[in-house]
Amino acid sequence: MADILYFGRLGDVAGTGAEKLDIPAAITDTAALRRWLDAEKSAGGAFLEASVRLAVNSEIVVDPHPISPSDEIAFMPPVGGG
């Protein structure tokens, strides 16, 4: 099972901040994961936006980055504090 984290507005889109998912074997990289989840969640493209970065096991990656079934994968919309 992969740990999928949805930060910021994507938590509202996904309906949760975190969940464990069985990712289909055919989904082997972050670009494919975005497309699969966007369809699963009927997100209307929210997971496909270029401004949404992905982190795999706490490292920000560039699509397409390989993923494994037990990775922690975070969807990160634009950040900012203060």
Binding site: L5, F7, G8, R9, D12, G17, A55, S58, A74, M76, P77, P78, V79, G80, G81, G82
Partner: protein, 161 residues
Amino acid sequence: MITLTPSPFSPSEALAAFEKEARGAGAIVSFTGLVRDRAGETDVDGLHLQAYSPMTENGIEKAAADARQRWPLTALRIIHRIGDMAPFEPIVFVATASAHRRAAFEAADFLMDYLKTEAVFWKKEFTKTGSRWIEPRAEDYSDSARWTQTDTETDRHARHK
């Protein structure tokens, strides 16, 4: 030192502690950011800040190390709230100490620009009419870009010596 805290903190106590830590510095600059009670025409009831540990802490540590490399700082302190907070509460505190004022001013400004546009936080605003996630404004990004376009007063000063 860097602290993320879910509890309210006192900027005046943080500054007093920093002054002790930085004893001997010729210049101390501190900045406090507060939760606003208005967003345009709307009253704000509160803010919620999400972080992603340890990525958030690691990123701020790296920005602090960058600041120490660019300016001759003798001490540095960052406190950032996470979780839920109410209007008028402090959300961020940055303090820098150096032998002279310019380095302290610039380093604090640099760190705040990092915190506004690059630090790994997500901010949600609650109002009477609902809630919305806030992302940095264009102005925040252009403020932050200043540090890659120009060198610092301290750099220029060093060259002219």
